[in-house]
């Protein structure tokens, strides 16, 4: 039996995949504890999980778009969050005495503490923003991020040689996507592209199943909650896109019903759905290309219209379009007629669904949470950095 400490961020997308892996580890007799915000993690992890609290602070700068969003992600979130949580993660490691620290790629305190104490550690990539190399052609932006990593390492008393690239463990990097979807070939062997770790999350939300008409096709529109004034008209544009299609299409829009008054009969506004249960019944999904929704949708071989906004969403959208499993749209500028044409293309051309099925098959072959757990078990049994991992670097990072 081994002891794994998972260090993560207080965001659903950064907790659900590790939670699925943790369940498999526990089923195999291992012990798992968490380091993170008690208040945020507890509802996702349940009453029995052992959580070493880090406290919680609000960080600003979550609303930016495009490349500005990557800059604010680092300077307003990753860097201050790392400094804020470092003492608590130190304490968690001292008390729990893990055999392996598993840290989210952007919860850098986990990497720093593991390195300080010589504990084997692994990285969870719960987003595609680093592997997607958004700055492959913008070397000074990439260098700016490396500068932040160097500062954090130095503050923690680590030399550059000791720290390496805090975003990628030299022991094991678990990526919750597939090489096929990411377009990644030939990554070093300590990269485990395991596909999404979809948990059997208990459905806590009900759904009006009787409203789904089996004679029509079904489209789910989900682009999150919109704080930004420019973004708020996405749903109205989607309504206009789908309005003429009532004979053959029913749409579900993930938005509070009061936000979209007087909808036609075939468009249902509903604030929450049990997404994993609903997706198998969908024929197309319109989303902003967050990794969770993209992964869950493609796991059901459902094609997508991807209208990205921020962070790794543009990378996910490019990947979906590259493999032919969907169509890119401009989040702010796509007109209703363009959105309608994209949805109709997904519904009428079987090639999109076939490509989505290829992604699903790549996920299945990648092994998911059980494969991630098996790799972590192997690391605990033989805690050595991968051969050559110290000198290894991805071009474009």
């Amino acid at each position: 039996m081994s002891r794994f400490l998972i260090v993560t961020l207080p965001l659903a997308g950064h907790v659900n995949p590790p939670a699925a892996v943790a369940r498999v580890l526990q089923e195999r007799g291992h012990d798992v504890a968490w380091s993170g915000s008690q208040a945020r993690l507890r509802p996702w992890l349940g009453p029995d999980a052992r959580v070493y609290p880090t406290g919680m602070r609000l960080f600003r700068g979550q609303g930016d778009n495009g490349i500005a969003s990557v800059k604010s992600l680092w300077e307003s979130f990753i860097v201050p969050f790392t400094r804020f949580t470092l003492p608590a993660v130190e304490k968690a490691v001292a008390e729990y005495q893990p055999d392996v620290v598993v840290t989210d790629q952007h919860a850098l305190a986990g990497a720093l503490v593991a390195l300080r104490h010589g504990i084997p550690w692994a990285t969870f990539c719960t987003s595609t923003i680093e592997l997607g190399r958004p700055f492959a052609t913008l070397p000074k932006a990439a260098a700016w991020i490396r500068g932040h990593l160097a500062t954090l390492s130095a503050e923690a008393g680590l030399t550059e040689g000791q720290a390496g690239d805090l975003r990628f463990s030299p022991y094991l990097v678990i990526v919750f996507s597939s090489g096929f979807l990411l377009g990644e070939q030939g990554l070093p062997s300590h990269f485990a592209l395991v596909g999404p770790a979809l948990s059997s999350r208990p459905a806590t939300t009900s759904f009006p199943w009787d409203r789904l008409d089996p004679a029509r096709r079904h489209v789910l529109v989900t682009v999150g909650t919109m704080a930004d004034a420019d973004a708020m008209d996405f749903y109205p544009r989607a309504v206009e896109a789908l309005r003429p299609l009532g004979d053959s299409v029913q749409a579900i829009m993930l938005v509070p019903p009061e936000a979209l008054p007087s909808l036609p009969e075939h468009i249902i506004a509903i604030e929450r759905i049990p997404q994993l249960e609903v997706l198998p019944h969908m024929d197309a999904v319109v989303c902003h290309a967050g990794l969770n929704t993209v992964s869950e949708t493609l796991s059901n071989a459902v094609p997508l219209v991807v209208a990205p906004l921020t962070r790794d969403q543009p990378i996910n959208a490019v990947n979906v379009a590259r493999v032919g499993a969907g169509i890119r749209a401009h989040f702010y500028r796509a007109r209703p007629d363009q959105l309608r044409a994209a949805v109709l293309a997904l519904l009428s051309d079987p090639a999109y669904r076939a490509a989505a099925a290829m992604v699903r098959d790549s996920f299945t072959a990648a092994g998911g949470a059980p494969e991630a757990a098996a790799r972590l078990e192997r690391l605990a049994a033989r805690p050595e950095p991968a051969a050559g991992a110290g000198n290894w670097s991805l071009s474009g990072l």
Partner: protein
Amino acid sequence: MDAPPGQRLLGEVMALVRQVIGDEPRWADRVTPSARLDEDLRMDSLEMAALAAGLGKAYGGRVNLAAFLAGLEFDHLVALTVADVAAYVRACGAGEGR
């Protein structure tokens, strides 16, 4: 009276940006010299590629937007405006004396 070359070039670059992002007034009206390509105009990678191609076509191979961006610090990339692009084109010695 003709506009001075710098002004004319700025107008041309603004027209090119509008061509790339479409003519809907909500967005086209935001294309001003001080508009930031990223935060204000929300130009995505496809649109940036289209702008690069448009600049290359209009002003010749010396104008290489991708190479210009590759030389910029992160702060400048985020804050890059329409006028900055026009100034770069001008610095390439393109778009004048025609």
